[in-house]
Amino acid sequence: MAIFETLVALLIVIGAFFLFVGSLGLAKLPDLMRRLHGPTKATTLGIGALLIASMFYFALIEGDPSIHELLITLFLFLTAPVTAQMIAKAYILRSQQTQNALPPTGGRTGWATLDPAPADGSAETSRD
């Protein structure tokens, strides 16, 4: 039992560390785009470690396996990139300086946040 408890404690400490670093990055880095890197990444491993600790705790110590945690992980992986992208798009839309610094798309149109889709419908992605 002591081994399992040590393992769970270790995972909680790892999780707490990465959550702290993610939040520190949010506070410390100088501009919005750099700040986005902290919460989108450091927190996924942080929360992941906490959820694995929770699964181990209920399966190995309480003897009552729980699989809810997998679902939390799945939803987190689905929602974190979407949130990050919406924040980035809002930032690009509001910051003239960032708009001027964007690299070219290499195509005929600009970035979707700033430019409308081409009228000829060529933006339609194929569906096989």
């Binding site: 491993l45 992208q85 569906r127």
Partner: protein, 163 residues
């Protein structure tokens, strides 16, 4: 197994499994309810999702998931190191353009999500014609190498899965 009865077979299975995870209880009653939801929800919503992506090689999906999970762990450690030991302004951050070979909407969504979760990159925007991704790198001295890595490591595999 006609297309009318099961417009999205894979979605039906996913809904059933997610239901069982959600109730956290695998009993005969919940399995039946999960299967019913897996049949009813795709059927009721199929009008809003006329086409479904074809997943050509399901085995490759699992391999891809493992590669992404590994990269998430590496990326967390790397970003944590940068946050703790580098002064913010000294990070050479910049936007790069990743030209896309993928044309499938679901494949591009997966790629954008993957880029955000993996080492030092966040996907920020898609070009209006859907042929390039705008990616922000936290620390890079060689933008071309970053783009080449994204294309080789993730896009090539997604192309095998979806197209």
């Amino acid at each position: 197994m006609s297309a009318r009865l099961f417009p999205h077979p894979l979605l039906s299975i996913t809904v059933a499994i997610v239901w069982l995870l959600l109730v956290n209880d695998i009993t005969a009653g919940q399995v039946v309810l999960g299967l019913f939801l897996g049949w009813a929800i795709p059927k009721l919503t199929s009008a809003y999702w006329p086409d479904r992506p074809l997943i050509r090689r399901p085995g490759k999906v699992i391999a891809y998931a493992f590669i992404v999970l590994m990269d998430i762990v590496i990326s967390n450690i790397q970003v944590a190191y940068w946050v703790l030991y580098r002064r913010g302004p000294s990070l050479r951050s910049r936007f790069v353009t990743v030209p896309l070979d993928l044309t499938n909407a679901e494949a591009i969504t997966t790629l954008a999500g993957t880029i955000t979760m993996t080492p030092g990159t966040v996907s920020a925007d898609l070009s209006a014609d859907g042929k390039a991704l705008l990616v922000h790198c936290l620390e890079t001295d060689d933008a071309e190498a970053t783009v080449a890595q994204i294309k080789d490591r993730y896009e090539r595999r997604l192309k095998e899965i979806f197209e």
